[in-house]
Protein backbone atom coordinates (compact mmCIF):
# COMPACT_ATOMS: atom_id res chain seq x y z
CA UNK A 1 0.00 0.00 0.00
CA UNK A 2 2.81 2.30 0.90
CA UNK A 3 4.54 1.48 -2.43
CA UNK A 4 1.31 2.32 -4.38
CA UNK A 5 1.24 5.81 -2.84
CA UNK A 6 4.88 6.36 -3.70
CA UNK A 7 4.29 5.33 -7.32
CA UNK A 8 1.22 7.58 -7.54
CA UNK A 9 3.10 10.61 -6.24
CA UNK A 10 5.98 9.81 -8.63
CA UNK A 11 3.65 9.78 -11.69
CA UNK A 12 1.92 12.99 -10.66
CA UNK A 13 5.27 14.62 -10.26
CA UNK A 14 6.29 13.67 -13.78
CA UNK A 15 3.06 15.04 -15.19
CA UNK A 16 3.48 18.30 -13.29
CA UNK A 17 7.01 18.79 -14.55
CA UNK A 18 6.00 18.21 -18.15
CA UNK A 19 3.22 20.81 -18.19
CA UNK A 20 5.40 23.43 -16.56
CA UNK A 21 8.11 22.95 -19.20
CA UNK A 22 5.65 23.54 -22.10
CA UNK A 23 4.43 26.89 -20.73
CA UNK A 24 7.99 28.13 -20.24
CA UNK A 25 8.84 27.39 -23.87
CA UNK A 26 5.88 29.42 -25.13
CA UNK A 27 6.84 32.37 -22.99
CA UNK A 28 10.32 32.17 -24.35
CA UNK A 29 9.11 32.36 -28.01
CA UNK A 30 6.86 35.33 -27.33
CA UNK A 31 9.77 37.14 -25.77
CA UNK A 32 11.81 36.50 -28.93
CA UNK A 33 9.13 38.15 -31.13
CA UNK A 34 8.97 41.21 -28.96
CA UNK A 35 12.70 41.66 -28.56
CA UNK A 36 13.47 43.84 -31.57
CA UNK A 37 16.82 45.52 -31.97
CA UNK A 38 16.57 49.30 -32.11
CA UNK A 39 19.98 49.91 -33.59
CA UNK A 40 20.22 51.13 -37.17
CA UNK A 41 16.48 51.50 -37.69
CA UNK A 42 15.26 53.95 -40.31
CA UNK A 43 11.88 55.48 -40.23
CA UNK A 44 9.91 54.41 -43.26
CA UNK A 45 6.43 55.65 -44.07
CA UNK A 46 4.15 53.15 -45.73
CA UNK A 47 1.89 54.32 -48.51
CA UNK A 48 -1.61 53.62 -47.29
CA UNK A 49 -3.17 54.59 -50.58
CA UNK A 50 -1.26 52.16 -52.76
CA UNK A 51 -3.75 49.43 -52.07
CA UNK A 52 -6.51 51.55 -53.56
CA UNK A 53 -4.79 52.26 -56.89
CA UNK A 54 -6.29 50.48 -59.81
CA UNK A 55 -4.33 47.31 -60.58
CA UNK A 56 -1.81 47.89 -57.78
CA UNK A 57 -0.19 44.81 -56.31
CA UNK A 58 1.99 46.54 -53.74
CA UNK A 59 -0.12 45.94 -50.64
CA UNK A 60 1.33 42.47 -49.93
CA UNK A 61 4.94 43.56 -50.17
CA UNK A 62 4.49 46.62 -47.96
CA UNK A 63 2.73 44.52 -45.33
CA UNK A 64 5.46 41.85 -45.32
CA UNK A 65 8.16 44.45 -44.82
CA UNK A 66 6.62 45.86 -41.67
CA UNK A 67 5.98 42.39 -40.18
CA UNK A 68 9.58 41.31 -40.31
CA UNK A 69 11.42 42.05 -37.05
CA UNK A 70 13.97 44.87 -37.24
CA UNK A 71 12.61 46.24 -40.58
CA UNK A 72 10.28 49.05 -39.51
CA UNK A 73 11.27 51.64 -42.09
CA UNK A 74 8.84 54.47 -42.56
CA UNK A 75 7.29 54.81 -46.09
CA UNK A 76 6.03 58.12 -47.45
CA UNK A 77 2.23 58.26 -47.63
CA UNK A 78 1.39 59.42 -51.14
CA UNK A 79 -2.31 60.11 -51.64
CA UNK A 80 -3.74 58.90 -54.94
CA UNK A 81 -4.26 61.68 -57.48
CA UNK A 82 -7.94 62.59 -57.62
CA UNK A 83 -9.50 62.01 -61.03
CA UNK A 84 -11.69 65.06 -61.40
CA UNK A 85 -13.42 63.47 -64.37
CA UNK A 86 -14.71 60.66 -62.20
CA UNK A 87 -15.51 62.94 -59.27
CA UNK A 88 -18.02 64.74 -61.46
CA UNK A 89 -19.21 62.09 -63.86
CA UNK A 90 -19.82 59.42 -61.23
CA UNK A 91 -21.92 61.79 -59.11
CA UNK A 92 -25.51 61.76 -60.33
CA UNK A 93 -26.55 64.82 -58.30
CA UNK A 94 -23.58 66.80 -59.51
CA UNK A 95 -24.48 66.03 -63.11
CA UNK A 96 -28.05 67.09 -62.51
CA UNK A 97 -26.95 70.32 -60.86
CA UNK A 98 -24.49 71.30 -63.57
CA UNK A 99 -26.51 70.23 -66.60
CA UNK A 100 -27.43 72.84 -69.14
CA UNK A 101 -31.11 73.76 -69.05
CA UNK A 102 -33.15 71.70 -71.46
CA UNK A 103 -34.23 73.79 -74.40
CA UNK A 104 -37.18 72.16 -76.10
CA UNK A 105 -36.62 71.97 -79.82
CA UNK A 106 -39.63 71.42 -81.98
CA UNK A 107 -38.76 69.00 -84.74
CA UNK A 108 -39.43 70.34 -88.19
CA UNK A 109 -39.27 66.90 -89.77
CA UNK A 110 -42.42 65.57 -91.39
CA UNK A 111 -43.16 61.92 -91.95
CA UNK A 112 -41.13 58.79 -91.44
CA UNK A 113 -37.36 59.12 -91.27
Amino acid sequence: MKNAWIILFFVLGIVFQTSCRTQQDEVGESIKVVDISTEGQEEVLVSEEHNQEIGSQESDSSTSETDQPGSETPVAVVPDPVDECVVCHADKQSLIDTAKPIEPVESENEGEG
Binding site: I54, G55, P81, D83, E84, C85, V86, V87, C88, H89, A90, K92, L95, I96, T98, A99, K100, I102, V105, S107, E108, N109, E110, G111, E112, G113
Partner: protein, 386 residues
Protein backbone atom coordinates in the same frame (compact mmCIF):
# COMPACT_ATOMS: atom_id res chain seq x y z
CA UNK B 1 -37.72 53.68 -76.21
CA UNK B 2 -37.75 56.27 -73.45
CA UNK B 3 -35.32 59.15 -74.01
CA UNK B 4 -32.28 59.35 -71.76
CA UNK B 5 -32.23 62.06 -69.10
CA UNK B 6 -29.43 64.62 -69.60
CA UNK B 7 -27.57 63.33 -66.54
CA UNK B 8 -27.91 59.73 -67.72
CA UNK B 9 -26.19 60.57 -70.98
CA UNK B 10 -22.93 61.42 -69.23
CA UNK B 11 -23.18 59.40 -66.00
CA UNK B 12 -20.31 56.96 -65.52
CA UNK B 13 -21.07 53.93 -63.40
CA UNK B 14 -17.51 54.02 -62.08
CA UNK B 15 -18.05 51.37 -59.46
CA UNK B 16 -18.61 48.80 -62.19
CA UNK B 17 -16.74 50.43 -65.06
CA UNK B 18 -13.48 50.57 -63.09
CA UNK B 19 -13.49 46.78 -62.84
CA UNK B 20 -13.65 46.33 -66.61
CA UNK B 21 -10.77 46.21 -69.05
CA UNK B 22 -11.67 49.55 -70.59
CA UNK B 23 -11.94 51.05 -67.12
CA UNK B 24 -8.22 50.54 -66.55
CA UNK B 25 -7.50 53.51 -68.77
CA UNK B 26 -7.80 57.00 -67.42
CA UNK B 27 -10.56 59.15 -68.88
CA UNK B 28 -8.13 61.57 -70.46
CA UNK B 29 -6.33 58.86 -72.40
CA UNK B 30 -9.31 58.65 -74.76
CA UNK B 31 -11.26 61.83 -74.13
CA UNK B 32 -8.54 64.45 -73.65
CA UNK B 33 -9.65 67.45 -71.63
CA UNK B 34 -7.97 68.68 -68.46
CA UNK B 35 -7.99 67.80 -64.78
CA UNK B 36 -9.99 70.62 -63.25
CA UNK B 37 -12.87 71.12 -60.85
CA UNK B 38 -14.24 73.76 -63.21
CA UNK B 39 -16.48 72.26 -65.89
CA UNK B 40 -15.41 74.61 -68.66
CA UNK B 41 -11.73 74.07 -67.99
CA UNK B 42 -12.13 70.33 -67.64
CA UNK B 43 -13.85 70.16 -71.01
CA UNK B 44 -11.21 72.24 -72.77
CA UNK B 45 -9.96 70.12 -75.66
CA UNK B 46 -12.48 67.43 -74.87
CA UNK B 47 -12.99 64.65 -77.39
CA UNK B 48 -16.55 63.57 -76.69
CA UNK B 49 -16.60 60.75 -79.27
CA UNK B 50 -13.07 59.29 -79.39
CA UNK B 51 -14.16 56.24 -81.39
CA UNK B 52 -14.71 58.56 -84.35
CA UNK B 53 -10.99 57.96 -84.83
CA UNK B 54 -10.96 54.18 -84.45
CA UNK B 55 -7.45 53.66 -85.77
CA UNK B 56 -5.94 55.82 -83.03
CA UNK B 57 -8.16 54.89 -80.10
CA UNK B 58 -9.88 51.53 -80.49
CA UNK B 59 -7.21 50.18 -82.81
CA UNK B 60 -4.65 50.11 -80.02
CA UNK B 61 -6.25 46.92 -78.75
CA UNK B 62 -8.56 45.93 -81.61
CA UNK B 63 -6.42 46.30 -84.75
CA UNK B 64 -8.07 43.33 -86.43
CA UNK B 65 -11.51 44.93 -86.24
CA UNK B 66 -10.42 48.46 -87.07
CA UNK B 67 -8.56 47.20 -90.12
CA UNK B 68 -11.94 46.71 -91.85
CA UNK B 69 -13.39 50.13 -91.05
CA UNK B 70 -13.15 51.19 -94.69
CA UNK B 71 -15.37 48.27 -95.70
CA UNK B 72 -17.84 48.77 -92.84
CA UNK B 73 -21.09 50.07 -94.32
CA UNK B 74 -22.15 51.54 -90.99
CA UNK B 75 -18.96 53.56 -90.85
CA UNK B 76 -18.45 54.55 -94.49
CA UNK B 77 -22.16 54.90 -95.47
CA UNK B 78 -21.13 53.66 -98.89
CA UNK B 79 -24.65 52.42 -99.59
CA UNK B 80 -25.89 56.01 -99.67
CA UNK B 81 -23.12 57.15 -101.96
CA UNK B 82 -23.60 54.22 -104.31
CA UNK B 83 -27.16 55.37 -104.90
CA UNK B 84 -26.37 59.10 -105.00
CA UNK B 85 -23.47 58.72 -107.41
CA UNK B 86 -25.47 56.46 -109.72
CA UNK B 87 -28.18 59.12 -110.03
CA UNK B 88 -25.93 62.17 -110.34
CA UNK B 89 -23.01 63.49 -112.35
CA UNK B 90 -19.59 64.46 -111.13
CA UNK B 91 -20.23 68.19 -111.65
CA UNK B 92 -22.90 68.13 -108.95
CA UNK B 93 -20.75 66.25 -106.49
CA UNK B 94 -19.85 69.24 -104.31
CA UNK B 95 -23.45 70.26 -103.72
CA UNK B 96 -24.32 66.69 -102.87
CA UNK B 97 -21.43 66.50 -100.42
CA UNK B 98 -22.91 69.51 -98.61
CA UNK B 99 -26.35 67.93 -98.66
CA UNK B 100 -24.96 64.66 -97.36
CA UNK B 101 -23.14 66.37 -94.51
CA UNK B 102 -26.29 68.14 -93.38
CA UNK B 103 -28.82 65.33 -93.68
CA UNK B 104 -27.29 61.90 -94.12
CA UNK B 105 -24.00 61.82 -92.27
CA UNK B 106 -25.70 61.63 -88.88
CA UNK B 107 -26.28 57.96 -89.63
CA UNK B 108 -22.51 57.39 -89.60
CA UNK B 109 -21.86 54.91 -86.85
CA UNK B 110 -18.71 54.87 -84.74
CA UNK B 111 -17.64 51.99 -82.51
CA UNK B 112 -19.12 53.82 -79.55
CA UNK B 113 -22.49 54.22 -81.25
CA UNK B 114 -22.97 50.46 -80.99
CA UNK B 115 -20.98 49.49 -77.93
CA UNK B 116 -21.25 52.38 -75.48
CA UNK B 117 -23.81 54.99 -76.44
CA UNK B 118 -26.97 55.58 -78.32
CA UNK B 119 -26.32 56.82 -81.83
CA UNK B 120 -25.97 60.56 -82.13
CA UNK B 121 -28.94 60.62 -84.51
CA UNK B 122 -31.25 59.79 -81.60
CA UNK B 123 -29.60 62.05 -79.05
CA UNK B 124 -26.56 60.06 -78.02
CA UNK B 125 -25.61 59.36 -74.43
CA UNK B 126 -24.32 56.40 -72.44
CA UNK B 127 -26.62 53.43 -72.47
CA UNK B 128 -25.07 51.65 -69.51
CA UNK B 129 -22.96 54.06 -67.50
CA UNK B 130 -20.08 54.00 -70.02
CA UNK B 131 -19.75 50.23 -69.73
CA UNK B 132 -18.73 48.70 -73.05
CA UNK B 133 -21.37 46.24 -74.22
CA UNK B 134 -20.02 43.55 -76.52
CA UNK B 135 -23.54 42.95 -77.85
CA UNK B 136 -25.35 46.12 -78.91
CA UNK B 137 -28.82 46.74 -77.58
CA UNK B 138 -31.61 45.99 -80.06
CA UNK B 139 -33.68 48.94 -78.90
CA UNK B 140 -31.04 51.49 -77.90
CA UNK B 141 -28.67 50.80 -80.79
CA UNK B 142 -29.98 48.84 -83.78
CA UNK B 143 -33.58 49.99 -84.03
CA UNK B 144 -32.71 53.45 -82.74
CA UNK B 145 -31.67 54.06 -86.35
CA UNK B 146 -33.38 51.17 -88.11
CA UNK B 147 -36.68 51.91 -86.50
CA UNK B 148 -39.30 53.21 -88.87
CA UNK B 149 -39.15 50.19 -91.16
CA UNK B 150 -37.15 47.27 -89.82
CA UNK B 151 -37.75 47.93 -86.13
CA UNK B 152 -41.49 48.41 -86.45
CA UNK B 153 -41.85 45.40 -88.71
CA UNK B 154 -39.70 43.12 -86.61
CA UNK B 155 -41.35 43.95 -83.30
CA UNK B 156 -44.89 43.95 -84.65
CA UNK B 157 -45.69 47.61 -84.13
CA UNK B 158 -48.03 47.83 -87.10
CA UNK B 159 -51.66 47.29 -86.25
CA UNK B 160 -52.95 43.83 -87.13
CA UNK B 161 -49.56 42.65 -88.35
CA UNK B 162 -47.71 40.16 -86.20
CA UNK B 163 -44.11 40.58 -85.20
CA UNK B 164 -41.49 38.60 -87.06
CA UNK B 165 -41.55 34.97 -85.92
CA UNK B 166 -37.83 35.15 -85.12
CA UNK B 167 -38.66 37.80 -82.50
CA UNK B 168 -42.08 36.64 -81.44
CA UNK B 169 -41.20 32.98 -80.93
CA UNK B 170 -37.46 32.81 -81.38
CA UNK B 171 -36.75 35.78 -79.08
CA UNK B 172 -33.89 36.60 -81.39
CA UNK B 173 -32.24 39.97 -81.49
CA UNK B 174 -30.68 41.62 -84.50
CA UNK B 175 -27.21 40.36 -83.70
CA UNK B 176 -28.34 36.74 -83.82
CA UNK B 177 -28.44 37.01 -87.61
CA UNK B 178 -26.41 40.14 -88.33
CA UNK B 179 -23.28 39.06 -86.53
CA UNK B 180 -20.12 40.97 -85.74
CA UNK B 181 -18.45 39.84 -88.96
CA UNK B 182 -21.11 41.58 -91.00
CA UNK B 183 -21.29 44.62 -88.74
CA UNK B 184 -17.52 45.11 -88.70
CA UNK B 185 -17.23 44.91 -92.47
CA UNK B 186 -15.32 41.64 -92.68
CA UNK B 187 -15.09 40.49 -96.30
CA UNK B 188 -17.83 37.88 -95.94
CA UNK B 189 -17.75 34.57 -94.13
CA UNK B 190 -15.51 33.14 -96.80
CA UNK B 191 -12.49 34.38 -94.90
CA UNK B 192 -13.30 32.11 -92.00
CA UNK B 193 -12.18 29.10 -94.00
CA UNK B 194 -10.23 30.80 -96.79
CA UNK B 195 -7.96 33.28 -95.06
CA UNK B 196 -5.55 33.32 -97.96
CA UNK B 197 -4.80 35.94 -100.60
CA UNK B 198 -7.91 35.05 -102.60
CA UNK B 199 -10.15 36.73 -100.04
CA UNK B 200 -7.94 39.80 -100.00
CA UNK B 201 -9.07 40.45 -103.56
CA UNK B 202 -12.78 40.43 -102.70
CA UNK B 203 -14.05 43.91 -103.68
CA UNK B 204 -15.68 46.09 -101.08
CA UNK B 205 -19.42 45.88 -101.03
CA UNK B 206 -21.28 48.83 -102.51
CA UNK B 207 -24.57 48.46 -100.66
CA UNK B 208 -26.35 46.07 -98.34
CA UNK B 209 -27.46 43.68 -101.12
CA UNK B 210 -24.06 43.48 -102.71
CA UNK B 211 -21.62 40.59 -102.43
CA UNK B 212 -22.14 37.36 -100.56
CA UNK B 213 -25.60 37.14 -99.08
CA UNK B 214 -25.16 37.44 -95.35
CA UNK B 215 -27.17 36.58 -93.39
CA UNK B 216 -28.84 33.78 -95.31
CA UNK B 217 -32.02 32.12 -94.21
CA UNK B 218 -30.56 28.81 -95.35
CA UNK B 219 -27.72 29.09 -92.84
CA UNK B 220 -30.15 27.97 -90.15
CA UNK B 221 -32.93 26.50 -92.29
CA UNK B 222 -30.58 24.09 -94.03
CA UNK B 223 -33.18 21.42 -95.01
CA UNK B 224 -34.87 24.03 -97.21
CA UNK B 225 -31.74 24.36 -99.31
CA UNK B 226 -31.33 20.64 -99.68
CA UNK B 227 -34.99 20.06 -100.54
CA UNK B 228 -35.31 17.71 -97.62
CA UNK B 229 -38.09 19.39 -95.69
CA UNK B 230 -40.97 17.80 -97.56
CA UNK B 231 -42.44 21.13 -98.65
CA UNK B 232 -43.29 21.04 -102.34
CA UNK B 233 -43.06 24.81 -102.80
CA UNK B 234 -39.46 24.83 -101.59
CA UNK B 235 -38.57 22.34 -104.29
CA UNK B 236 -40.62 24.18 -106.89
CA UNK B 237 -39.64 27.79 -106.10
CA UNK B 238 -36.60 27.63 -103.84
CA UNK B 239 -34.32 28.97 -106.55
CA UNK B 240 -36.48 31.56 -108.29
CA UNK B 241 -38.17 33.30 -105.37
CA UNK B 242 -36.51 35.02 -102.44
CA UNK B 243 -37.73 33.66 -99.10
CA UNK B 244 -39.53 36.91 -98.35
CA UNK B 245 -41.80 36.56 -101.40
CA UNK B 246 -43.66 33.76 -99.63
CA UNK B 247 -42.92 34.46 -95.99
CA UNK B 248 -43.12 38.26 -95.56
CA UNK B 249 -46.28 40.28 -95.07
CA UNK B 250 -47.13 43.93 -95.67
CA UNK B 251 -44.33 46.38 -94.96
CA UNK B 252 -43.64 50.11 -95.18
CA UNK B 253 -42.98 52.03 -98.36
CA UNK B 254 -42.35 55.76 -98.46
CA UNK B 255 -42.80 58.51 -101.03
CA UNK B 256 -41.15 61.82 -101.83
CA UNK B 257 -38.52 62.79 -99.26
CA UNK B 258 -37.17 66.32 -99.55
CA UNK B 259 -34.44 67.88 -97.46
CA UNK B 260 -33.69 71.50 -96.64
CA UNK B 261 -32.35 73.89 -94.01
CA UNK B 262 -34.97 75.64 -91.93
CA UNK B 263 -35.14 79.40 -92.46
CA UNK B 264 -36.33 79.93 -88.88
CA UNK B 265 -34.07 77.66 -86.88
CA UNK B 266 -31.22 77.05 -89.31
CA UNK B 267 -31.51 73.32 -88.61
CA UNK B 268 -31.63 70.66 -91.30
CA UNK B 269 -34.93 68.86 -91.70
CA UNK B 270 -36.73 66.45 -94.03
CA UNK B 271 -40.28 65.99 -95.13
CA UNK B 272 -41.77 62.81 -96.55
CA UNK B 273 -44.88 62.93 -98.69
CA UNK B 274 -46.25 59.74 -97.25
CA UNK B 275 -45.71 56.25 -95.89
CA UNK B 276 -47.96 53.26 -96.36
CA UNK B 277 -48.12 49.52 -95.89
CA UNK B 278 -48.18 47.19 -98.84
CA UNK B 279 -46.73 44.03 -100.37
CA UNK B 280 -45.15 44.09 -103.80
CA UNK B 281 -43.34 41.44 -105.80
CA UNK B 282 -40.94 42.77 -108.39
CA UNK B 283 -38.14 41.48 -110.56
CA UNK B 284 -34.66 41.11 -109.09
CA UNK B 285 -32.25 43.74 -110.40
CA UNK B 286 -29.39 42.25 -108.37
CA UNK B 287 -29.63 38.82 -109.92
CA UNK B 288 -26.34 37.02 -109.36
CA UNK B 289 -24.80 33.80 -108.11
CA UNK B 290 -25.44 34.98 -104.56
CA UNK B 291 -28.98 36.16 -105.28
CA UNK B 292 -30.30 33.98 -108.12
CA UNK B 293 -33.95 34.86 -107.63
CA UNK B 294 -36.27 35.84 -110.44
CA UNK B 295 -38.73 37.60 -108.14
CA UNK B 296 -38.14 39.45 -104.88
CA UNK B 297 -40.05 41.75 -102.56
CA UNK B 298 -39.60 45.44 -103.36
CA UNK B 299 -40.49 48.61 -101.49
CA UNK B 300 -40.70 52.19 -102.66
CA UNK B 301 -37.89 54.36 -101.40
CA UNK B 302 -38.70 58.04 -100.92
CA UNK B 303 -36.20 59.59 -103.31
CA UNK B 304 -37.43 61.60 -106.25
CA UNK B 305 -35.64 63.81 -108.76
CA UNK B 306 -36.28 66.90 -106.60
CA UNK B 307 -35.27 65.47 -103.25
CA UNK B 308 -32.17 67.68 -103.02
CA UNK B 309 -33.56 70.72 -104.83
CA UNK B 310 -32.70 72.96 -101.88
CA UNK B 311 -29.02 72.48 -102.73
CA UNK B 312 -29.31 72.98 -106.48
CA UNK B 313 -31.41 72.31 -109.52
CA UNK B 314 -31.31 68.96 -111.26
CA UNK B 315 -28.75 67.44 -108.90
CA UNK B 316 -29.97 63.97 -109.80
CA UNK B 317 -29.55 64.32 -113.53
CA UNK B 318 -29.25 60.54 -114.02
CA UNK B 319 -32.18 59.80 -111.76
CA UNK B 320 -33.38 56.88 -113.87
CA UNK B 321 -30.12 54.94 -113.43
CA UNK B 322 -31.49 53.23 -110.35
CA UNK B 323 -35.00 52.01 -109.55
CA UNK B 324 -37.11 53.68 -106.91
CA UNK B 325 -38.79 50.35 -106.20
CA UNK B 326 -35.89 48.72 -104.41
CA UNK B 327 -34.99 45.14 -103.53
CA UNK B 328 -36.00 44.70 -99.90
CA UNK B 329 -35.98 42.06 -97.16
CA UNK B 330 -38.91 42.81 -94.84
CA UNK B 331 -38.31 41.77 -91.26
CA UNK B 332 -41.79 40.45 -90.59
CA UNK B 333 -41.35 36.80 -91.51
CA UNK B 334 -44.20 34.37 -90.85
CA UNK B 335 -44.46 30.67 -91.61
CA UNK B 336 -47.98 31.07 -92.96
CA UNK B 337 -48.86 34.14 -94.99
CA UNK B 338 -51.50 35.04 -97.59
CA UNK B 339 -49.01 33.92 -100.25
CA UNK B 340 -48.64 30.43 -98.78
CA UNK B 341 -52.36 29.71 -98.73
CA UNK B 342 -52.35 28.29 -102.22
CA UNK B 343 -50.55 28.47 -105.53
CA UNK B 344 -53.18 30.85 -106.84
CA UNK B 345 -52.54 33.22 -103.98
CA UNK B 346 -49.79 34.52 -106.27
CA UNK B 347 -50.40 32.92 -109.65
CA UNK B 348 -52.82 35.14 -111.55
CA UNK B 349 -53.04 37.64 -108.71
CA UNK B 350 -51.85 40.92 -110.22
CA UNK B 351 -52.49 42.73 -106.91
CA UNK B 352 -49.31 41.26 -105.48
CA UNK B 353 -47.03 42.13 -108.37
CA UNK B 354 -45.50 45.50 -109.17
CA UNK B 355 -47.17 46.14 -112.49
CA UNK B 356 -46.73 49.30 -114.53
CA UNK B 357 -50.01 50.79 -113.36
CA UNK B 358 -48.68 50.85 -109.80
CA UNK B 359 -45.67 52.97 -110.68
CA UNK B 360 -45.73 56.75 -110.83
CA UNK B 361 -45.47 57.94 -114.42
CA UNK B 362 -42.32 59.97 -113.61
CA UNK B 363 -40.62 56.84 -112.35
CA UNK B 364 -41.51 54.25 -114.96
CA UNK B 365 -38.19 54.59 -116.78
CA UNK B 366 -36.26 54.17 -113.55
CA UNK B 367 -38.15 50.98 -112.73
CA UNK B 368 -38.27 49.19 -116.08
CA UNK B 369 -36.07 46.37 -114.76
CA UNK B 370 -38.28 45.88 -111.70
CA UNK B 371 -41.77 46.12 -113.17
CA UNK B 372 -43.44 42.78 -113.76
CA UNK B 373 -44.75 42.96 -117.30
CA UNK B 374 -46.49 39.60 -117.22
CA UNK B 375 -47.99 38.25 -114.01
CA UNK B 376 -47.46 34.48 -113.67
CA UNK B 377 -50.70 32.86 -114.89
CA UNK B 378 -53.03 30.95 -112.63
CA UNK B 379 -52.40 27.25 -112.13
CA UNK B 380 -55.45 26.44 -114.19
CA UNK B 381 -54.08 28.43 -117.13
CA UNK B 382 -50.68 26.84 -116.73
CA UNK B 383 -52.12 23.37 -116.78
CA UNK B 384 -54.44 24.18 -119.63
CA UNK B 385 -51.80 25.64 -121.89
CA UNK B 386 -50.42 23.31 -124.53
Amino acid sequence: MAPLEPWEKVFVNFETFSTTVHGQKSCMECHGGEQSKDKASAHSGLVSRPSEDPETICGQCHPDIVAHTDENLHANLQGYWTAIEARSTSQDHQALVEMFGNHCESCHTSCGDCHISQPASVGGGFIDGHIFNETPSMTRNCTACHGSRVGNEYMGKHEDIKADVHFRQGRMSCIDCHDNHEMHGYPSDCQTCHPGPETASIPSIEHRYDGVQSPRCESCHTPVTLGNDGILMHEQHGGDLSCQVCHAVSYTSCDGCHVAISETSGNPFFSTEGSYLGFFIGKNVYKSYDRPYEYVTVRHIPVDNKSFEFYGANLLADFNNRPTWSYTTPHNIQRNTPQTESCDACHGNSNLFLTIDMVDSDEVDANLDVIVTQVPPSIFELLSSP
